[in-house]
């Protein structure tokens, strides 16, 4: 098991605070199961699918591969797909684990904030 860092402790505490504030602490076991499942599914993934606005260079792919290896503790090849609808940035998918850094998501997030 990887050593627990201060950053992860902050994230976990933030999650606990959120569940406590929204009176949803009963969801904690379910959330933990989901996180575990996501992490486990990423272990069985065959590749890292990166969908980006522009094609990634081999250097960029390598940076991503190494970063994902450290985050999820998996060593997988990077498959790059191009999608202009993203408006900018890229998404990463490893099994069920998904990270969205696109401008489309940021714009949507901004819209949600304005509407809330």
């Amino acid at each position: 098991m990887k050593k627990t860092t201060k950053k992860s402790k902050v994230v976990v505490q933030g999650l606990l605070d959120y569940l406590s504030e929204t009176k949803q602490t009963t969801l904690l076991p379910e959330v933990a199961d989901n996180l575990t499942r996501l992490f486990q599914n990423s272990k069985t993934a065959k590749e890292i699918i990166v969908t980006s606005y522009l094609p990634l260079s081999s250097t960029e792919k390598e940076i991503l591969r190494k970063a994902i290896q450290k985050i999820l503790d998996v060593s997988l090849p990077v498959v790059n797909k191009v999608d202009k609808r993203l408006m900018g940035g890229f998404t990463i998918q490893v099994g069920d684990w998904f990270l969205d850094t696109t401008l489309r998501r940021e714009l949507q997030s901004l819209k949600n904030t304005l509407l809330s």
Binding site: S52, Y53, L54, L56, E60, I63, L64, K66, A67, I68, Q69, K70, I71, M87, G88, G89, F90, I92, L99, T101, L103, L107, Q108, L110, K111, L114, L115
Partner: protein, 165 residues
Amino acid sequence: MENLGIQPVSLITQIINFLIMVFVLTKLLYKPILKILEERKKKIEESLELTEKLKKDIQANEEKKHEIIDKAKAEGKKIIEEAKKSAKQVEAELIKKAQAEAAAIVVKSKKEIEIEREELEKKLKKQTVEIAGAMAEKIINSVLSEKDHRNIIEKKLKEIAKLSL
């Protein structure tokens, strides 16, 4: 008496005849007539008494009638007064009720208007955000160059690389 031309026998006979006549008349005519007159007088007296009694009864009835009419008038007046009082009370209650209902309608209407206003504001806000989003999307697509997109990708890569440290 004979010198006077009066015959004693004849006189006696006539006296007897007269007495007989008086007796017969008394028995057969005078007494029944007196009796009838007496009865008639009695009837008249009774009739007069009855008339007097009837007069008194009529007067008593008249007084009673007036008394009843006066009483009825007084009661009628009282009923009218009570009805007026009751009507005023009902009127006041109806006015109070109508005022309360009107106030409730005003409150409800204000609330509905407020809800409607909020919904419209929400709708307008949503539409504004949608339009702004669409505009931002068009601007991003038209303004950002390939170099800008490359810079964005590199910036995001750096952020992810930081996460793994």
